[in-house]
Subunit: 350 residues, 2 copies
Amino acid sequence: MEKELNPSMFIGVGGGEIISFGAGQPDLPPPKEIYDVLHNAHNNFRYGLIQGNENLRAALSKQYPGSDKDDFIITNGASEALDLVLRVIGKGGGKVLLHKPYYYSYPPLVRAAGLEPVYTETINGKIDLADFKEKIKDCKAFLINSPSNPTGRIQDVETLKEIERITKEREIILISDEVYKDMIYERENYLLSGPQVVTINSFSKTFAMCGFRVGYLYSNDKSIVKNVIDLKTHTSMNTNTLAQEMAYVATTVPKEYLEKGLKIWKERRDLICKGLKDMGLDFWKPEGAFYVLPKVDNPKKAVLELFEKHKVITYLGDWFGAPGRIRLSYALDKEKIEEGLKRIKEYLGK
Amino acid sequence: MEKELNPSMFIGVGGGEIISFGAGQPDLPPPKEIYDVLHNAHNNFRYGLIQGNENLRAALSKQYPGSDKDDFIITNGASEALDLVLRVIGKGGGKVLLHKPYYYSYPPLVRAAGLEPVYTETINGKIDLADFKEKIKDCKAFLINSPSNPTGRIQDVETLKEIERITKEREIILISDEVYKDMIYERENYLLSGPQVVTINSFSKTFAMCGFRVGYLYSNDKSIVKNVIDLKTHTSMNTNTLAQEMAYVATTVPKEYLEKGLKIWKERRDLICKGLKDMGLDFWKPEGAFYVLPKVDNPKKAVLELFEKHKVITYLGDWFGAPGRIRLSYALDKEKIEEGLKRIKEYLGK
């Protein structure tokens, strides 16, 4: 039974009576403008540039000071961007530092690239700089994710600046997975930058188009960009060209779309935090993204019973290097969050 | 200059005065029905199943006797299917046998998966069973591509049956890249099958939707299927859900669509063969797909000068393990083929 417990059993599952606090995907609608691309499509379906559509890369470069459109590669979601860059830097092996808890795909991706994952523990979800400095010493790269999936925590700007400084000085590759950068409740995003930085991002979360799989990689390191393009030429070729056109339209959407979304996410965050607190559960307050990671007794039993008896999907903390906890994604409307909380309360017998 | 000569410099390039015998993509229109999916799209853009949409897998399983929908995984083109299966079987290393000339992505994909490519030479593009039997002995897998990119040659049914028998007996994985299986001029396709077979296919060529990147993998080996899904969960998640809906519609298109296409491909094959023959070039007659691989003097100079001076894209035989040759894709209308042939004649000074 334990053997069968893994995230892929829940991905794409839902509907009906099920309340899913599982997969991390927005339920809010995507910008309506991106449907126009579909409805007016007369696309010829031919191969596109491996690196990605030029207009999309040009639009992205406006969002990153000092960047050029040729510093970007459009990928099948942030997942592929991460996989490709790890495979490129993986030649000859080495260690990649991850902060715990981590997104569940990180260790398998690091290992699949021939690299070894090593870990720095966090304190209440915040990177412990003393431990970081010790662990980073013999690493080839550091993979940071702020806001974090699964904790929803962001790293302090001072911490980010120090990490930026150390990795630059030691020429350690700093991979920054910023797929939740537009979903921070507490402050503006601090964009990690420098010659050592590889930024990973996606349209999935910001524009609610997860199933369309458009992400990207940005780096000023021309050798990394070239090697990723060369690899992608063989492993998947261009990213779906129509999805790229939709992503381009998403870059032109007024800022209000994001602001409106953020307000809703914050309300939901407050709602779920109150509910969990009322049940007496211990958790770190999410500052971004849409995840919360409470402690529960016997988490494996909790995930299975919540699914089988209460039709509530939650993810096991163990998958994220967070034993003793379960992850809840609150990308659901208020009514569903309330119903889900009610069922969790029933499970807990409170 | 030589350093810069690689396929990615030409992919997605074209238009204007350029005649491209480069990338292998049909110019014929896709089935008109698949546009309806776009024009009526009210897709919610959410994550799909990692393994792929159920209706698409069910439709595919009807095309493969003895298969079940759960034996299929929908991927970002055949490229990703191949990359994933090689990565899965790559654990612990080993050798993969390729027949020469080969599709240019094969050796890099094999190496990127931690495996070593080894080669069996062909005679006039046909597998030499004596050499095959010798080379296969210490291999983990054989990757076959019939009809072949870049030769357009098909393997004899007797040869295919013998390869099927030997690999089954020795429990060697037989990866069959059949993306051109619906484009054979000489006979019906012979579908390699058995517990050792992993079939790779795509909607790109058959239905002219290359840029949409929908391919698939089919295997009766449950462990391979499971491991590929597990890997894809981390490396790219689901394949674009809307592209999968379009692929599903493509499976429902009347057979006439393919028959009509095949007639056109055959006419073009005859046209280009006549043109090349009239110039006195030596080549193997293509029996499927839409490639021809003539011998030329100084192929590097030919590819560069044809592009720079005559605006004709051709691919270097070296990329395919075919020194002394260049590859021409004849996925072009007759007028363009004729114009392209004229320019090649000019280049040759004939």
